[in-house]
Each structure stands twice: as C-alpha cells, then as structure tokens.
C-alpha cells in the first residue's frame, strides 16, 4: 500500500497531508514565540525600578531605532504579498511570473536580514556608562582610539577590563538626551557631542548586549530566533524558485502545494514580526 493524500486532499478533511503538518508545526511555533513574549512581559513587569541607569526607569525604552524597524516591517509585509502572488501565478499557470515574485520574496528576506544586522552592529558597539556621580550617559565609545567591534567577543569592554588593562580614560559620542518615556527631548542638541570620561569616575560600563540588561537579552533572543526563521524560510523559498522548481513539470499540483505550505510558513514569520515590532520597539 502507498501513503495516500500526499498531494490530493482527503475528501472528509479537505486537506492534503503536508497542510495538516504545517498547521500543526505552526501551532507549536506559536507556543514557542508565545513563551518568549510571555517571558518578555514577565521580565518587564517584574523588573526592579531604577535598574536601568539612564532614565531611572525599570525597563529601558526608546533604545531601538524606530524608523529602521518600520522600514523592515514594510520589507517583510512586501515579501508576504509577493509570496502569495507567486502562489497565485502558479495557479494561473504563469511559471515565469512565479519565479519573479519568488525572487522578490527572497530578496526582501535578505534585505530584512541585512538591515537587522546593521541594527545589531550598532547595539554591540553602543555603551551605557554610569558615573560615580549617579549620572549616566549612553553612546558609542572609543577605547585607545578604537571602536569595539561586535564580531570579536573579546573586544567587549567592561569596567573590570578597563582596570586590568589600565586604561585611563575612554571617549564617548553621547546620544541625544531623552525624557522618561524614552523620547528624544526636543531641546536637546541633535549634533553628537564627544566626551572624555576618566576610568576612575565610572561606576558601571556595559554594551547594549544580553549581559547588560534583561531587555537586551530578550530583544536579542527573540529577534535572533525570528531572524533564523527568516533565513530558513528564505533558503527554502529560494530552493523552490530554482532547483526545486523541476517538480512543476512532473507534478504541478504537488509543486503548488509546496509553495502554499512554504507561503503559510512565510506568513507566520511575518506575523511574528508584526507582534515583535510594536512590543519591542514601540511599547
């Protein structure tokens, strides 16, 4: 006996096997991201007040770049539209259109990842410095005339490292001032100001990375996991667009099904971002 309903729908359920499979898989993915979002909420509501040095708030706000995030949202939504167009083109038997739409989808995915890595890079070289006077400043630092780089983990600076390597002072390009909601104050000078801080005056020093605050830990975890989903999905869609497209000749129905299933996953990835963007960037 052969396995039935591989690409034909089972009459009483109206579904082919892979469609059941992908919906179940997405259900489990919802639980995965649901747990991460719940963790975000729980960490945020239980964060001790005054923990984040800059604003005297429990939870850092306004540290992510909203225009870039908005642009990335638009990029992902575009890719969701094109993946549907790709599927619809196959339904209308226009294979060349399918390929164009699929290529756009994959390009959008890589554009998203490229922009995200730009944001990541910025965070890794961004530092919060709390002074012994109680005041805190944030910005990009230079130590011994060099910017720390994120791809080199040993290049992260901490107060302990400054002391052991007997660095006397660091220079910092200070961020514009923010109010307690995290918005940039209107009267603040937008031109970036350079400051020099003596090591002896520093109480705490940490980059915008997971070790510095649970906000960054949860931000990096959710966005990185989402990024991995984008990457995985893009690779599979790229496979469907080129080598996997051979199936269009042998078994068009199964190929359409694959694109549908792939598209469902892609919409899910998009949907996660649509929750992620307001929760992490805006709220």
């Amino acid at each position: 006996m052969e396995i039935p309903y591989i690409y034909k729908a089972r009459p009483d359920t109206g579904l082919y096997n892979a469609k059941v499979g992908i919906w179940l898989f997405l259900a489990s993915e919802i639980m995965l991201f649901g747990a991460l979002f719940s963790a975000y909420i729980l960490l945020r509501v239980s964060a001790p007040v005054g923990f984040w040095p800059e604003t005297a708030l429990a939870w850092p706000r306004g540290l992510l770049n909203i225009p870039i995030g908005t642009f990335n949202t638009a990029v992902l939504i575009t890719s969701s539209v094109t993946v549907v167009m790709a599927w619809a083109s196959l339904q209308m038997n226009k294979f060349s259109h399918f390929r164009v739409y699929m290529v756009i989808t994959v390009l959008c995915a890589f554009a998203f990842l490229g922009i995200k890595s730009f944001e990541y890079n910025d965070k890794f070289s961004h530092y919060v410095v709390q002074l012994k006077s109680g005041k805190a400043v944030t910005g990009h630092i230079e130590v011994n005339g060099k910017h720390p780089r994120f791809w080199n983990f040993s290049d992260q600076w901490s107060l302990a490292r400054l002391t052991t390597e007997s660095v006397k002072e660091i220079s910092i390009t200070v961020d514009p001032e923010r109010d307690k909601h995290g918005h940039v104050k209107s009267h603040s000078n937008h031109a970036h100001e350079n400051k020099t801080i003596a090591t002896d005056d520093i109480q705490f020093l940490g980059s915008y990375t997971p070790a510095t605050h649970p906000f960054f830990a949860v931000y990096f975890l959710i966005t990185a996991l989402h990024g991995l989903h984008v990457l995985g999905g893009a690779l599979v869609l790229a496979y469907f667009a080129f080598p996997g497209a051979k199936m269009w000749k042998d078994n068009p129905q199964q190929f359409i099904n694959r694109i549908e299933v792939g598209g469902l996953f892609w919409h899910f990835v998009d949907l996660v971002w649509i929750f992620l963007f307001p929760v992490v960037y805006l709220l």
Binding site: I3, G21, L24, F25, M31, A35, L43, A217, V261, F265
Partner: protein, 601 residues
Amino acid sequence: MQTATQPHSHSHDHASHDHAHHEPGFFSKYIFSTDHKIIGIQYGVSALIFLLFGFLLMLAMRYQLAYPGQPVPLVGSLLQKFLGDDLAKGGVMQGDLYNSFGAMHGTIMVFLAIVPILFGSFGNYVTPLQIGAPDMAFPRLNMASFHAYFLGGVIMFASFFTPGGAARSGWTSYSPLASVTDLVNRFDGQTYWLIGMVFLITSSLLGSVNFIATIIQLRCRGMSWMRMPFFVWTQFITGFLLLLAFPPLEAAGIMQLMDNLFGSSFFLPAGLVVDGAALGVSGGGSPLLWQHLFWFLGHPEVYVLILPAIGIVAEVIANNTRKPLWGYKSMVYATMSVGFLSFIVWAHHMYLTGMGTKIATFFQTTTMMISIPSVIILTALFISLWGGSIRFNSASLFALSFLPMFGIGGLTGLPLGFNASDVYLHDSYYVIGHFHYVVAPGTMFAVFAGIYYWFPKISGRQMNETLGKIHWAGSLFFMNCVFAPMFIQGFKGMSRRMYDGGTTYFAGVDPTALSLNKMITMSAIGLGLFQLPFINNFFYSIFAGKKVTSDNPWDATTMEWSTPTPPPHGNFTSEPVAYRGPYEYSVLGSKTDFTPQTQKP
C-alpha cells in the same frame, strides 16, 4: 516546511521501489529506515537501554542513601576511575555525584526512556496499524525524529564525562542554581543537558506533528473517529500535549543557555551572592519565570507519561476480558478533558515559591478538576472487568495490576494538589512515592503489558508465559516495597534532597524512618533481579520463542492483528476497511467471541 512537504513524493517513489525491486541494505534497513515499524523498534530498543541505565543510576543512589559514605559495591572502583576523585573518591558517591545521578535519573527516565517507549516505540509501531494506514504520513520526518532523539541521548550520556560531571541541579534544572553550578567552566554538564534537551524537543516536535497528521489523514475507509481504538485516541491527545507543551521549555532552555554562556540574566535576580562573592551579572531576571516555563511543559508531560500507558492497558484489558471497554465514549471525552486541563494546572508544582495565594488557589481548583476525568477513565477500566471471563496471561496481569497501582499514584496526588497540605508534604519523600507510583508500577507496568501483548505481532514469536508471570509477581511485590515506605518517610518529614539518606537530620530523632532506607534499597535490588527473567525472556523469545501459528494469536479485534506477521513494508496486503467499532468482543449471535474490525457484516 521543506521537510514537511518533501518526504511524500520521494519516499513514496522510494517505498514502492524498494519494496518491489530489492531488499535494502543493512544501513538503509536498520539505521536510515523510514518504515514506522523499524523506527518503532529503534525507539524501543534505545529506550529500553536508557531505562536500564536510569535504573542503575538509581540503584547507586539508593545504595548511598541506605549506607551513606560506603563505597558503592561492584561499580565503585569504576566510578572512581571514570569520574575522578572529586565525584567518587574511593568509590564512595560524593554529594555532587549524587546530585548529578539524581538529575540524570529523572531526565533519562522521563525524556529518554518512558516517553520514547510509549510514544516513539508503541505509538510508532501500533498506531498506523490500528488505523489501517500503510505508514506514517511523513516517513522521513519520522526517521529524523528518531535521529534527533538518539543524538540527544548521546549528548546526555556524554555529559557524564565532562569535567564536573553531568547536570546536577535536578531534572527540573531550577535557576539560579543551574546557572551557578560551575562558574569557571561554563561548558559544564548543565550546558550539555540544555543542548541535549533541544535535540529531544526537536525530536518530539517532529514526532507529534507526524502522529497527529497520520491520525487525521491516514485513517482507512470506515475508520471513523469513534471507531478508533482507545490506544489511538491516547496517542492523538498525547501528540497535542507534546506539540504544544514542549516549545515553552525549548524557549526556557535557550534562555538558560544564554544565561550560562553569554552572561545574560533571564533567570538571575539582582544581588545574587555565590560562595560569598557577588555574582558578576546584571541581574534583573526572574527565577520564577524558569519554573513557570518548565512546569508548563512539566505538567502536560506527566500526562504524556500516563495517557499512552492507559491506552495500552485499555487494549490489553478489552482483549483479555473478552468484553468491549465499558464507556468507550466517556473515556475518549475524559481523555480530551485531561489533555485540555493539563495545560492549566502547572503551577501546582510551585505552591511554595511565593507566587501568591490567589494564583495558588486557581491552580488548586484546576488540579481538583483534572482528577475528575482521570477518575472517569480509571473507573471505566475497572467496570470493564465486571462480568468478563478474564484471561490471566502475562500481559493481562501487568495491565490489571496497573489499575490499583495507578489508582494509588493518583489518589496520593490529591494531598499534594491542595496547597495547605502541600506546604507540609512538598519536597519530601511523599512526593517521590506519589509520582513513582504513577510512572513506575503505573506506566512501567503498562509498558510491560504492551511488550508481552504486541511481541507476537512484532517478532512472530510468543514470549514465555512462566517467565512472564515470575517477572510480574516479583515486580509487583518489590515495586510496592520500594515506593510504599516512601509515603511513611515523607509523612515523617524526610526531605527528598538529602544525599546521606537523612542520617544527619534523623539521627536519634526517628530511627524507623532511617531503617526504611535499607528496606527500600534491598527491595530496589530485588526489583532489579526480577527484571532478569524479563531480559532473558525477551532475547530468548526473539530468536527461539514459540512461533505463532496465526496472525491473530490473542483473538483480538483491532486492525493490527489483520496484517501478516510481522507486517511487511506497507503493512496491509490489501486495502483495509473498518466495518465496526474497535471492541466487538462476545457479540451475541456471533460464532466466535470476537469480531475483527475488518470483518464484513
């Protein structure tokens, strides 16, 4: 989703190709097989090995509890040789080694032995046969699921030999304890544990997607939902539990991994002091978060451990009482209710964490609610015995003793579910007694019943009945001698965490509680000895057992018995059709006392 779609076309071509043209080689037949029956056997063999391993860990721990500070007999020198002086100086189990054996006993038994044997092995082998399917819906995912499980097992096993030994923060790996066990070597046993868990969770995800899709899509003609054997129902609900409850633990595992490797503080509060020095982390995390995420899996997991076991017992009881199951539909609906409710009871493991009395009250209420469908299932099974002409073979003896044993396990859970009584009993030996009654004489007896019951279908040979009955009698006696005294120790206030068996705490206060340690240890050794007839029987019968003369040696009604023995690739020789319900035993006016589902009306 590439993997979700791909298997069909290819394995589909492959399957017919292999089947029709040539016998596959050793590797493609036994290692990279996509046949659900081979995968079921792979799961079964691996899980039985892990079961034995987990049991041996426990024996070593039990020896330390009964004779604290004395070298472990037989294996003491080996422990010292392989694990070093820090863990086993002079063959004596040190505190850290006891902790790591305890953590790994739990982990191995739950994630590497019992779930794989119930879901991976019996589920894989029997479910497609019982619904008249040629294979699982996604055969290559099925293979990947086994491989992920196996790799996870290898990682867990390898962790014993890392510097500092395997994970030693309990099978629950509570933070911050789990994040501070080794502050120098961050790639310690706990990190291995987390990576191993990610593999095991992946395995269970692939498996559960496959099971649910198979049961929804591949039921044969006439196999309506209410004609499915109860075992299939339990697998179906279990599939949902694994699918939805495991991902939060995966999330939690990744967070703890980040805490351990990247210095984040998901679960670490501010101001933590370890060994007299402030821990150099930012803090600001929540230890409660780990416990919530862990038990969100942990409690449905309990039902993953018990539902398929109930399914096996139901099959064996219906067959051996020669009666339909009493209240099949209520059992199905009760199983669904258990499945649903199991997602909203998790914090009853956390009454003492300070999460608040209002939350505790909520979870106390849901916990009492979930006992109702559980009791419905158990009662239906008891009533099923009424008026039956019961055949007492090895399978049925194990299934019959499952009922009271699981009953004890379930009823002793009630005082733990009430938060007032839990305050006293929490973390005592009472808890150990309670859940072991559920999973050891409960689930394990169902596993044995299943092995004795389906062995003839899998191997084409019968297991020896006399050895089976010796195995049953000894196991039943010693199981109770091991676990019943734990209730007494628990009532006397003995903590489950003391690696010297409570000597320091109880000396001069209550010698009876201490003397029970020796009795439990002796009984555990006895329990081990009574598994020898089973091991002997198992291997002897594979090669030299009495050959079965019919495809349906137990005169059973369900569909797995309508296949050739053992079932070939593709399972059925012609397309099966279900004409009737699963348990048409002793139908009035019928020539035989059983009417198979495939028999035309």
